[in-house]
């Protein structure tokens, strides 16, 4: 390649390759790499593709279980058995950095990417979730990011027809300049339909299908290579533009193709595009793959091999076709009006060989490139854990004012402004719509009820990453239990700062250990996920945010439960001890600007016992509503439970044991393992004794009543709020911030 720059130490460094790594490349090749090969190594050995910094940590996750059909890391997404020959494939991905630069397209292509991962497995995408973090809405830039990200998700998801049925949104200073956009997708498939991303069958033809390749995302891959060629002098966009319409065609074509039995292997082109898909399919298949770039459909002229291989253009797939089935495959591509090309063959020599019009430009042992990236054990430096909050430091608060203030904080307030913009009803499966603890979706193909939630309280993780990690899983499991579901498995998205900072890396390690411990406790193996490091702005790293996506199954329609009070007169019970932990609470943060103190401890055994007891009660048909206590504690949970039907409650802690004598603490502490549930009056004694018999703490708090929330505390004081006022504070907050 005559025009290629010479391989200098500067060029190597610019590619993010260390001298040690370069020596390793020389060993693998037995020679110096050329320029294109250097680019290939740099993307494949980036953190994004190789997990070179996080792999030793990820090995701590439990990955197996009786329901696991495809394990984490084996394929594009894990697959879990849901019974009767059906399985679900699901995964979460981040698109943080692209969204920071171009919120609409960044978020949209994030959705496109995760949906592609799912149908690459042979599964039909069924629904999505999204987990978002922004700086405070008081700043115009954050409003712009929030609104752009939501429109981007809405655009892509609505257009392709995959409902977005749940998620979470938090606002905190630590995300200023570095928003988080994590998207989750779940698909359904028959066990025998699981597709593999492996290049099997020497001699099989390799097809490229989907959008033409352009110079998209080149700067995003490993580095910005601005002055490589004449043609590339113009600006190269670091952000890709998504085309949900093209992806919809690709989705239908791929599922039709997989059903036709003509496919030996399939792999989407995500990060590192053609490079990653060719070497990974070869490596998984124990074969080699040879392609010719001259045959690749292109959107622009004059693209170099380097550019074609590293392009991150969206909506593309690599398909290994069974020899002899080429015509059948072409017919399907043509039916769906998709560009395609027969670009190469599966070989038996273990090489990833790339030609350009016959001339070999890349020749690398595929498995070494895909699997032999260096692994680093990064240095960690622990931070001291904060002390628990001393109640004496909590000033007397205007409680009547504090509750609506908390409810109107955008992190707690209604997210209806968000999910109204998402088509959450397409595919006709909403049994529980957005707005309750977990979304419940009827997968019609399989006739199964699946519940899903995403959770992470990053304040806890910042103050105590290990406990924070445990709580993220525990809260997800609790949300599922409240909707009547049995948790099946977990996907996670680890969002952290620069791993070279030992404190950041310690946070990552602690969070992972916490997640892993909790996943074991709830018997929910991790089936996959994503790592996003370098989430920093000049002001510092984001709060560690290990987002958890958890999926559960509901055995019968009768078990579906929501968080909302149903009828006046129903008895309100608190499951779990009233608690008194104030560290890391939203009360301290929102009312006093104090993001501090030791966050709540979670006892995983007790937590699990509570979930099991709740599910048992639900199965007996005794539970009319169940809502977990999370941000804002018991008072917020009681208020939220009344919002759907505008029902109030008459509640008293006065004659109930164990309630704290500080009203602030009793109402707003965030101790874990608590659920507010309601039962019909006639069943309340039975429910209570059943729970006591199971050995879980239960307290009778009062009844659903009237149109005010009336709470008498252990000090004998009574606070009363009209539900309409609380509802207004909660429901109008985000719209008012966004549309003044």
């Amino acid at each position: 390649m005559t025009n290629d720059p010479a391989i200098t130490p500067e060029l190597i460094e610019k590619h993010g390759i260390t001298p040690d790594e370069y020596r390793r490349i020389q060993e693998i090749l037995g020679r110096d790499p050329n320029f294109t090969e250097l680019g290939v190594f740099s993307v494949m050995w980036s953190e994004h593709c190789s997990y070179k910094n996080s792999k030793p940590e990820l090995r701590k996750f439990p990955v197996s279980g009786s329901r696991v059909l495809v394990k984490a890391g084996e394929e594009n997404a894990g697959v879990i058995d849901i019974g009767d020959g059906w399985g679900v494939a699901f995964k979460m991905e981040s698109h943080n950095h692209p969204s920071a630069v171009e919120p609409f397209q960044g978020a949209a292509t994030g959705v496109g990417g995760i949906i592609r991962d799912i149908f690459t497995m042979g599964a039909r995408p069924v629904f999505s979730l999204n987990s978002l973090r922004f700086g405070p809405l008081t700043e115009a830039r954050n409003r712009q990011l929030f609104s752009g990200v939501v429109s981007g998700i809405s655009h892509y998801g609505n257009c392709i027809g995959v409902p977005t049925i749940g998620g979470e949104v938090y606002f905190d200073e630590s995300y200023n300049g570095n928003p988080l956009v994590n998207v989750f997708c779940l698909g359904v498939l028959r066990h025998e339909q699981i597709a593999r991303g492996a290049a099997h069958g020497v001699g099989n033809p390799v097809f490229y299908v989907g959008a033409e390749t352009g110079r998209d995302g080149l700067a995003g891959a490993a580095f910005a290579s601005r002055d490589l060629t004449e043609e590339s002098k113009q600006d190269r966009p670091a952000v890709q533009v998504g085309d949900p319409f093209k992806e919809k065609l690709l989705l239908e074509a791929c599922l039709e193709l997989l059903a036709s039995g003509c496919v030996a292997g399939i792999q989407d082109m995500g990060a590192a595009g053609l490079t990653c898909s060719t070497c990974e399919t070869a490596s998984r298949g124990g074969t080699g793959v040879e392609i010719d770039l001259a045959l690749v459909p292109k959107r622009e002229t004059g693209m170099t091999p380097y550019e074609i291989l590293l392009s991150e253009s969206q909506e593309r797939m690599l398909i290994i076709v069974k020899l002899g089935e080429e015509e059948a495959v072409k017919r399907i591509f043509e039916k769906w009006d998709l560009p395609y090309a027969h670009v190469g063959y599966v070989r038996d020599d273990g090489m990833m060989r790339v030609k350009n019009d016959g001339e070999t430009v890349v020749e690398i042992p595929a498995s070494k490139l895909a699997d032999d990236a260096p692994i680093y054990h990064r240095e960690t430096r622990p931070r001291l854990l904060p002390d628990p909050i001393d109640p004496e430091t909590i000033p007397p608060t205007d409680i009547l004012d504090a509750l609506p203030t908390l409810l109107s904080h955008p992190s707690i307030a209604s997210k209806q402004w968000v999910w109204r913009q998402y088509d959450h009803m397409v595919r006709n499966g909403n049994v529980v719509r957005p707005g309750s603890d977990a979304a419940v979706f009827l997968i019609r193909e399989a006739n199964k009820l699946i519940a899903a939630t995403s959770d992470c309280n990053a304040i806890y993780c910042a103050l105590d990453p290990r406990e924070g990690g445990k709580i993220a899983v525990a809260e997800a499991a609790r949300n599922l239990a409240c909707s009547g579901a049995i948790p099946l498995a977990v996907t996670d998205n680890l969002n952290f700062g620069n791993p070279h900072n030992p404190e950041n890396f310690w946070q990552l390690q602690q969070c992972v250990e916490g997640l892993a411990e909790a996943c074991r406790a709830f018997d929910t193996p991790v089936t996959g996920g994503n790592v996003s490091l370098y989430n920093q702005s000049p002001a510092g790293a984001i709060d560690p945010t290990p987002t958890v996506g958890m999926v559960g199954i509901i055995e019968s329609e009768k078990h579906v439960t929501t968080q909302f009070f149903k009828d006046e007169g129903d008895v309100i019970l608190l499951l779990g001890k009233p608690g008194n932990e104030m560290g890391g609470s939203h009360f301290l943060n929102v009312i006093y600007g104090r993001k501090e103190g030791l966050p709540p401890r979670v006892d995983l055994v007790e937590e699990k016992a509570i979930h099991d007891a709740l599910r048992a009660l639900i199965r007996m048909g005794l539970v009319k509503s169940a809502h977990d206590c999370s941000e804002g504690g018991l008072a917020v949970a009681l208020a939220e439970a009344g919002f759907e039907r505008k029902l109030g409650a008459a509640v008293s802690f006065a004659d109930v044991p164990d309630f704290n004598k500080w009203d602030e603490i009793a109402l707003f502490n965030e101790s874990q393992g608590r659920v507010v549930l309601t039962v019909g009056k006639a069943n309340s004694a039975a429910a209570q004794s059943l729970l006591e018999w199971r050995g879980v703490p239960v307290y009778r708090l009062g009844t659903v009543a009237g149109d005010t929330l009336k709470i008498t505390t252990a000090t004998g004081k009574t606070y009363e709020w009209p539900v309409a006022d609380l509802y207004a504070a909660w429901s109008e907050s985000i719209p008012a911030a966004m549309e003044p």
């Binding site: 609505n158 257009c159 093209k246």
Partner: protein, 229 residues
């Protein structure tokens, strides 16, 4: 009697419509691909929701030129029943089978929510199982559902009893708050002069199963089945 559900590239409620008709209504249904030139053999045609051809340019603007639409036009003029739901309504307006146009929601955002709609007349193949004044709970999900038409068109729609459903509150009052997208006179769905082509933004296909909310949409399909009997 047999229903056709047209599949454009980018249709995404085709399966929902198919299921609602076949499972909830026990009707005979088949998919028809957009490249087909004929819809012979079908008694009723469903243009489903979605983003046909990506909805680039304007919603329904490109779908209008697809081969199957010429066949749909012929079928419409032969008096067969045509129902366009959401994107289908947009396609019907773009192709001139229905008057007026659907533009960007007044609030500028996509809106996915339950709405209640008031039936204006039982005198149509699409509402004969209902009574005027009945209120149905049927969800909407669209970004461009604001119905507009010039004064003359509007007048003739009203005069000829062509507005079949309007957004209303649960008591049947057509208040501004009940209007999810700013549609003129809360119009949610209209029929052509000949009364055999119906377009509406709400999704009866998403209101045909108790488990997922409402069953009110079935009454519209039931009307069509009555008519075809």
């Amino acid at each position: 009697m047999k229903f056709a559900v047209i599949r454009f590239p980018g249709s995404n409620c085709d399966q929902d419509c198919f299921q609602a008709l076949s499972e909830s209504m026990n009707a005979d249904v088949e998919y028809v691909w957009h490249k087909e030139h004929s819809v012979d053999g079908f008694d009723a045609i469903v243009l489903p929701g979605g983003f046909s051809y990506g909805d680039y340019l304007r919603c329904g603007a490109i779908a209008r030129f697809s081969p199957v639409m010429s066949a749909v036009k012929e079928a419409a003029s032969a008096g067969k029943l045509v129902i366009g739901i959401c994107n289908g309504f947009q396609i019907l307006c773009e192709s001139g089978l229905l008057p007026g146009a659907l533009v960007r929601n007044q609030g500028l955002h996509f809106v996915c929510a339950d709405t209640t709609i008031r039936v204006e007349t039982a005198h149509s193949p699409f509402t004969n199982a209902l009574t005027a004044g009945a209120v149905l709970k049927i969800p909407v999900a669209h970004g461009e559902g604001c119905y507009t038409a010039d004064a003359e068109t509007l007048e003739s729609l009203n005069k000829n009893d062509q507005v079949l459903v309007r957004y209303s509150d649960p008591n049947g009052l057509t208040t501004p708050e009940a209007n999810p997208n700013g549609s003129l006179e809360n119009i949610a769905g209209i029929v052509n002069r000949e009364r055999n082509v119906f377009g509406l933004m709400p999704h009866p296909d998403r209101a045909a199963d108790k488990r997922t909310g409402s069953e009110d949409g079935k009454l519209i399909f039931e009307s069509m089945l009555n008519w075809l009997k």
